[in-house]
């Protein structure tokens, strides 16, 4: 047989085989008509264009914000700059979530929040004194929402956080109490969060989640205040033999458990 005839026979066989394969490629087997719950799963709604989220926070300090060893404020540790002197806090956050595309999975998050830490919050006041911090934050970040067009919307997000941190402390003495003001300090950090939203209807929903915030990654500084009743946040390392009151390498890091309400704009829930 010549090459030409070999090719022709091969082509004919291949074309025939392809016809057989094409006929078999689609698996049309099924066990029955889809029941109602399966049909419900296939229905999709319309993802919200904007979500406003108001959350209330319970904060647990970590690393150097997990002070109060043996659940008691320790004045010496605080003055030596070994920790921030507090452990627990609370707060409130307002977050705007703007969908960056039609499907609504990726959202731009703009947040403003206020958190307060107190050495005598949850635990009783120490005989050595107390300290408290106010943390006012603005954050900008991205979030991925896994089911934006469904009532139940889990999400994971990451934010860059700018914080203004100030505080106040009182040391008990035998005579009059010594009051100390912690001047406002600006720090930049980040937060990572993971949570759920549940839409009760097209407008309102609930949220629940957990967030880890490291507020002072950038901008740490330690310096002596000219006023003895005032100090700076003093969260940077002190090198050499210098001694700066309240100063030490400290992480303003905390976990937040949050819950609250959501308001949705432009959402159409599946019915």
């Amino acid at each position: 047989m010549t090459n030409l005839s070999k090719y022709l026979v091969s082509v004919i066989l291949m074309v025939s085989a392809c016809n057989i394969l094409f006929a078999q490629s689609a698996d049309t087997s099924y066990i029955g008509i889809a029941p109602a719950n399966v049909l419900y799963m296939l229905k999709h709604g319309k993802a919200p264009r904007v979500t406003l989220q108001l959350s209330f926070n319970y904060n647990i300090g970590m690393m150097d914000l997990a002070a109060n060893d043996n659940t008691s404020f320790r004045r010496d540790d605080f003055i030596a700059g070994r920790d921030f002197g507090t452990r627990y806090g609370y707060g409130v956050s307002l977050t705007g979530k703007i969908a960056l595309h039609k499907e609504g999975n990726v959202r731009l998050n703009v947040s403003g929040s206020y958190n307060r830490f107190e050495s005598n919050f949850v635990i009783s006041e120490s005989p050595e004194g107390k300290v408290s911090y106010n943390v006012i934050q603005a954050a900008l970040g991205l979030e991925n929402c896994f089911n934006p067009d469904r009532p139940f919307k889990p999400y994971i997000g990451f934010d860059i956080v700018a914080s203004f941190i100030n505080g106040k402390s009182t040391f008990k003495t035998d005579s009059t109490d010594f009051n100390l003001t912690i001047n406002s300090a600006f720090r930049i950090g980040f937060s990572a969060n993971f949570g759920f939203e549940y839409a009760l209807n097209d407008k309102l929903g609930l949220n629940l989640g957990v967030k880890l915030t490291h507020a002072n990654v950038i901008g740490r500084q330690s310096k002596v205040s000219p006023n003895p009743n005032q100090t700076y946040l003093n969260d940077d390392k002190v090198t050499g033999n210098a001694t700066i009151p309240f100063a030490g390498w400290k992480q303003f890091l905390y976990s937040t458990f949050f819950t609250g309400v959501n308001y949705y704009f432009g959402m159409k829930d599946k019915k």
Binding site: M63, N70, R82, F146
Partner: protein, 280 residues
């Protein structure tokens, strides 16, 4: 011979072409006499069933909270011996979790957990001039989990389980004056606590997937205890119970063995079937 083969091939090719051409022309011209098979579109959807059992193996990074931390990121011998804190901050661990569905829809699950966590004062910390301390915690427990989407590829859940932990450790204390070292063994102690967690599993196939999540563990909520080791201590208990300021006990103080874990790992799903339904 060669010419005959060529002729046969050419004949086959022409027959093949004619057979197709005949079919086409027959469909175009003799519509009224030929039965034409109409193409019918059907939509089939595949739905996974709830797993009969999930085995989840995960590794974790642990960050200590409350008294399971240290100051300025370093180890303080005085803080440990005076019982102010556990002296370590960072750790790692591994967990094996078995999950059994408690109802047909797979919303509620019984979780059986076994894990190991280790904390070291010299993990991610450099300043260990005063020594170091490490803890090993073997733990196990059973609890309940709520799964939001058990029959989906992505399964979101949160849960809570009581936890029994066996915690032991070892500390090396360095005397700054003469650099002598004292080795202190922290004996095994049983404590009861809990874990709360939330996370997700992603099924790559019907059987294999990955998992990730966050967990908060408070290992010594119950059974805290402090025992005086005596003057020359080389072996001490965990000593996490409260002591009196007037009668301090070495290593003794009200301490919480609490930590947050960020975990990730693989999941194996048993008994998952893929049901195919036709859409009406």
């Amino acid at each position: 011979m060669m010419r005959a083969a060529n002729k046969i091939s050419a004949f086959l090719f022409v027959c093949f072409l004619f057979s197709y051409a005949g079919m086409i022309s027959a469909q175009e011209i003799h519509v009224d006499t030929i039965k034409v098979n109409k193409t019918r579109m059907i939509n089939i959807v595949s739905v996974m069933t709830v797993p009969k059992l999930i085995l989840q193996l995960s590794a974790s990074y642990n960050s200590g909270a409350m008294e399971l931390t240290s100051h300025n990121g370093g180890f303080s011998s005085f803080d440990l011996t005076s019982g102010k804190n556990f002296g370590a901050r960072n750790g790692f661990g591994i967990n094996l979790t078995g999950k059994i569905p408690l109802n047909k829809k797979g919303q509620f699950w019984l979780d059986v957990v076994a894990g190991f966590a280790r904390f070291q004062s010299d993990l991610f910390a450099q300043n260990s001039q005063e020594g170091k301390v490490s803890y090993n915690s073997f733990n196990g427990g059973a609890g309940v989990e709520y799964n939001f989407t058990s029959y989906h590829h992505v399964k979101y859940y949160f849960g809570l389980n009581p936890l029994v932990s066996v915690i032991s450790g070892k500390a090396t204390l360095i005397n700054p004056n003469d650099n002598t070292q004292t080795i202190v063994t922290i004996k095994s102690n049983v404590r009861v606590g809990y874990s709360v967690y939330m996370g997700l599993e992603y099924a790559f196939t019907k059987n294999i997937g990955m998992n990730t999540g966050l967990k908060f563990t408070h290992a010594n909520l119950l059974m805290k205890k402090t025992t005086d080791p005596g003057a020359n201590y080389t072996q001490v208990e965990l000593n996490d119970g409260a002591t009196s300021a007037f009668n301090p006990i070495p290593f003794g103080g009200w301490k919480q063995f609490a930590y947050i874990s960020a975990y990730a790992g693989i999941s194996y799903f048993f008994g998952v079937k893929v049901n195919r339904y036709k859409l009406p």
